[in-house]
Amino acid sequence: MLLSVLVACVLLLSAQAPARNRSGSVLRSWILSAVAPAASAVSAVSRAATGAVDSVGQTLRAADENAVLREKLAARDRELFHLRAVAAQAERDRLLAAAAPSMPNVLVSAPVLLIERRAGLQSALVGAGSREGAVEGSPLAVAEGLVGRVVSVGISIARAQLLTDASAAVGARIARTGELGVVRGDGRGGLRLNNVPITSSVRAGDDIESAGIDGIYPRGVPIGRVESVARGSNLFLEIRLHPAADFSRLTDVLVLAPSPASTEVPAGPRSASP
């Protein structure tokens, strides 16, 4: 009993006595000191458990999130791929649209589906047919110049003979001098200007355009540029041309209406709409 009372007194006194260099009482300090390891241990376990639970949850959430992000990324990649294709097509369309006013009687722009170069025969399959207004003889052009003409037409597809075909021919004139000739394909990707007499003043660098005298091609569309001029074996010069159109990179072409000889490309600012 005495001991109990003494202990109680000591506790009471201690509870009131200030702790050394500390705020609070000695009793509180003792209690805190005694409880601290257990509290720390329990707290650590609690934190570890909470952390584990959290990390499991986060892992599960991250897996879900990862799957969602992967899907989003794949969708974005697809969208990017599509947009790039659309942008490339839009750029080609823009170039063609910019060229359209300079070309007479543009019907439609059409994609090139296939090009065949075999044994001098050079042809293309274009994605425009009678539905779009293409007919046999419709000239084809790109921004840089003439490409060829349609030779057979389906409903939505047409086969064309390229200018570089060994049996293709266009009535042409030398832009600087106005002299007439006939441009023929050589079957190897190049062009020749025939029927120009040796008295002509044509020289390398001269621009050659369609003359509109063949009843197929309109007048004034660029065909190529003179690459070399040589004296032929007879009364005509042998003139080699570099084609204005890049036949190795044909992806889209303008389909023109077959033009009578009177059609003239407007000079100066081109403002006609396709």
Partner: protein, 167 residues
């Protein structure tokens, strides 16, 4: 080879021709897929099938690209017959042999078409162009690669790979 497989082969050749033909970089690897299809049938040594497949593939190609129907049909029928004859006499195997045979066949195809175009359309004979040689080379290389891929023991390779991973 059954008729259905031949039809599928020709459809695949047409699809590949369009797939590569519509690209702006079509000249980078201009393979004659129809010729490869004809060779795939002809190597079995059946003349009738080889010639008919050649005619069908050639007609399809002519309809798409040539000014007259029959240039490629004639050429590919003859080539189909020739390849079937070779397949009967010798064992036409190995990537290099198949590639070389197809490259030569591609050049022969061009030569036949050039002669026919010259005879029937009075077109000048144009042979040995850069495009023609490059197509022969790419057709040969592609055929060689397909042959190598077809002959490669994929099953054993996959099994070995699986065992290596398990160790």
């Amino acid at each position: 080879m059954k008729l259905r497989r031949v039809v599928l082969l020709l459809a695949a050749a047409a699809a590949l021709s369009f797939l590569f033909g519509a690209s702006g970089h079509r000249d980078a690897w201009p393979v004659d897929w129809f010729l490869i299809a004809v060779a795939a049938v002809a190597r079995e040594g059946n003349f009738v099938k080889a010639v008919l497949t050649g005619a069908s593939a050639g007609l399809l190609e002519d309809a798409l690209t040539q000014p007259m129907l029959g240039f490629n049909a004639f050429a590919k029928s003859a080539i189909g017959y020739g390849l079937a004859l070779v397949a009967m006499r010798v064992v036409l195997g190995g990537a290099v042999a198949v590639g070389a045979a197809l490259a030569l066949a591609s050049l022969a195809n061009d030569a036949i078409v050039a002669v026919l175009a010259s005879l029937l359309m009075q077109a000048p004979i144009v042979l040995g162009t850069r495009e023609s040689l490059w197509r022969a080379a790419t057709t040969g290389i592609t055929a060689g690669m397909l042959e190598a891929a077809a002959k490669f023991p994929w099953r054993e390779w996959w099994e070995k790979r699986r065992l290596r991973r398990l160790r």
